[in-house]
């Protein structure tokens, strides 16, 4: 039906589109109805498995929900007040912020260094690039398991290597996963290994889009390598840099699988991120109202970051 209408409108003339029968055209080929027809199937899927769960979280956050969802009492903002005053929530928010800043910071610096190195067209660099990219598509869960295995204090290879080069005396002098000061850092190591290749790939694409003439004029003016990196490369890939940072910040904040595989948030909650805490409260302890309130706060923050950065990007 919508198709026929479009034919009439577009076929009947050669100049300006004349909307007939009050049909509002959104573009030269689409009216509102065909937009809906195109969007609806995908929209239904998102409504069922994203929008509905989200609304359920919002709804539940205003209730005290009994175990197994039997019986609920409206409690207003009590769950939100509980969240903001809970020490665990504050601690886990802090862990999340540390995780995001450290992991994304290290990934950006390493990714940038790698991109600058590997953009050289020296012999063999293409192969090296391919191999460095190999963690790119590995499951976060597998990355967590691999690093848990390597950082183990009983049979981990990392401590053995550190001992061989003389940094530590015995293989159990660094308890990567069971020392509460190190557990979060260990998880960050796994994250860095997993996602630095992504950063590198983004930056490489950015660097390769810089026109050669910029380098040429810089070298005519006698710029050294460092100046070329700081004055030409970094300013010219700032767009890519910004996008990559936004993607990674949101992804790092949502990290779940790596933490779950390596520490499940332990020891003593020292590596617990918000995502893990919310999941535990929902799944294990059944405090649905409280957990939903935390989830809503968390999601609002993520969406706010997204929308603000999106606006900034559009203005560029």
């Amino acid at each position: 039906m919508a198709g026929k209408a479009a034919i009439k409108i577009n076929g009947a003339h050669t100049g300006i589109a004349k909307p007939r029968k009050k049909r509002r055209m959104l573009s030269s080929t689409f009216d509102r109805k065909s937009l809906m027809l195109f969007f609806l199937p995908a929209g239904l899927f998102m409504a069922a498995f994203l929008l509905f769960p989200l609304l359920k979280l919002v709804y539940d956050s205003f209730f005290d929900v009994g175990d197994n969802y039997d019986g609920r009492t409206f409690v207003g903002l009590k769950n939100y007040i509980k969240a903001f005053t809970s020490q665990q929530f504050q601690a886990d928010s802090w862990h999340t912020v540390v995780y995001v800043i450290v992991a994304v910071g290290v990934e950006t610096v390493l990714g940038l260094a790698l991109a600058v190195i590997l953009t050289n067209k020296y012999k063999g660099f293409k192969a090296i690039r391919t191999f460095i990219l190999s963690p790119l598509m590995i499951a976060p869960l597998v990355a967590g398991l691999v690093w848990k295995f390597m950082l183990s204090s009983q049979f981990g290879v990392v401590n053995v290597l550190l001992m061989k080069i003389g940094l530590i005396h015995s293989t159990d002098s660094i308890l990567w996963l069971s020392d509460s000061r190190l557990a979060l850092i260990s998880c960050i190591i796994a994250d860095v290994w997993l996602t630095t290749p992504f950063m590198m790939l983004m930056f490489l694409a950015g660097i390769q889009s810089i026109p050669d003439s910029l380098y040429e004029s810089a070298s005519v003016e006698g710029a050294n390598k460092w100046q070329i990196i700081t004055k030409i490369i970094i300013p010219n890939i700032s767009g890519v840099l910004f996008s990559a940072l936004v993607i990674r910040v949101i992804d790092a904040a949502r990290t779940f699988d790596i933490i779950w595989a390596m520490t499940q948030g332990g020891p003593q909650g020292s590596s617990e991120l918000l995502s893990v805490h919310i999941y535990k409260m929902l799944q294990r302890y059944g405090d649905v109202g409280y957990a939903s309130a935390m989830a809503v706060i968390f999601i609002i923050v993520l969406i706010a970051i997204t929308l603000i950065t999106q606006l900034r990007q559009k203005r560029r």
């Binding site: 198709g3 994203l50 979280l57 190195i117 963690p135 691999v146 779940f256």
Partner: protein
């Protein structure tokens, strides 16, 4: 800067040597974990949990792989993982490309912009927060541990990602194509399937690879929605390392089997991966 050859002057040579040294150090750092896992998987099970681990196996063995197949239904879990990822990818590509085409063509209208922002916001929702409501929804309808439902849930959860990626691809397709098709008498559906879709096939492949891997690599949704019949490989992997058993040997074997195809795939499909990543971000 980055194109000169060896030997122009000494400073350049020093620079080139530094570049090679750094590249090799990074290379070793990044492939070490993976190679270690690979070599460990070919050690006898007892050596994997030795307190004096070696990089290369002292004696080569496929004991771990045999154990994986003997102690678990790993073949079925691989089939489940593949079916769930493949079916959800097909659903996502079909429905997602329709929706994103329409949004890309109406991007000036307020309504279409609203849909775009909605999709973006849905894309940011952390799975760990919504997976429990999804679980209770699935439970309510009695579809727990049922593979077709896992496919559908993956399709729903990954849909915003597909839309976001495809919209930027469709924006690059000139509108003249649509208008030419419309002049020839094609409605939006015909124009889409006959004219637009063939043009964006490479983009569909990029998007398809990413969507497939999102489902293939998922752990949390499968953990909550499946138990035995529809269990996927990541869930099985995580079960090798519970507090009751520390079956590291078979775990390394299964992890290698699970990740190796993906790594090989990413070697060969790098071109698609790069264009996909850039579309998902920069132009968005």
């Amino acid at each position: 800067m980055f194109n000169e050859k060896f030997g122009r002057n000494r400073r350049d040579n020093v620079w080139i040597i530094i570049m090679y040294a750094l590249a090799v150090v990074f290379l070793l750092g990044f492939i070490f974990p993976y190679l270690y896992m690979l070599f460990s998987s070919f050690k006898p099970s007892a050596d994997v949990i030795s307190v004096h681990p070696t990089f290369f196996p002292k004696s080569w063995s496929i004991e771990n792989y045999l154990k994986v197949f003997q102690t678990s239904d790993i073949g079925k879990f691989f089939a489940n993982s593949f079916i769930a990822a493949a079916v959800s990818t097909i659903i996502c590509l079909l429905l997602g490309s329709l929706a994103s085409y329409a949004i890309s063509r109406t991007s000036l209208s307020k309504f279409s912009n609203f849909l775009l922002i909605l999709v973006l916001c849905l894309k940011m929702i952390p799975v760990s927060s919504i997976v429990v409501p999804i679980y209770s929804l699935v439970q309510q309808f009695g579809f727990y541990d049922y593979l077709p439902v896992l496919c559908i849930v993956y399709a729903g959860v990954n849909m915003p990602f597909v839309l976001w990626m495809m919209i930027s691809f469709f924006k690059d397709v000139p509108r003249d194509l649509d208008e030419a098709a419309a002049v020839d008498g094609a409605g939006p559906f015909t124009a889409f399937f006959k004219v637009i879709l063939p043009v964006v096939t490479p983009s569909l492949i990029s998007t398809g690879i990413f969507t497939f891997l999102l489902s293939w690599n998922d752990f949390l949704i499968a953990l909550l929605l499946t138990s035995s019949e529809a269990k996927t490989v990541p869930v099985a992997l995580s079960e090798f390392l519970t507090s009751y058993s520390l079956d590291l040997g078979p775990m390394t074997g299964a992890a290698v089997l699970f990740s190796f195809p993906v790594i090989i795939l990413s070697f060969f499909l790098q071109r698609y991966l790069v264009s996909g990543m850039l579309a998902g971000s920069v132009k968005g």
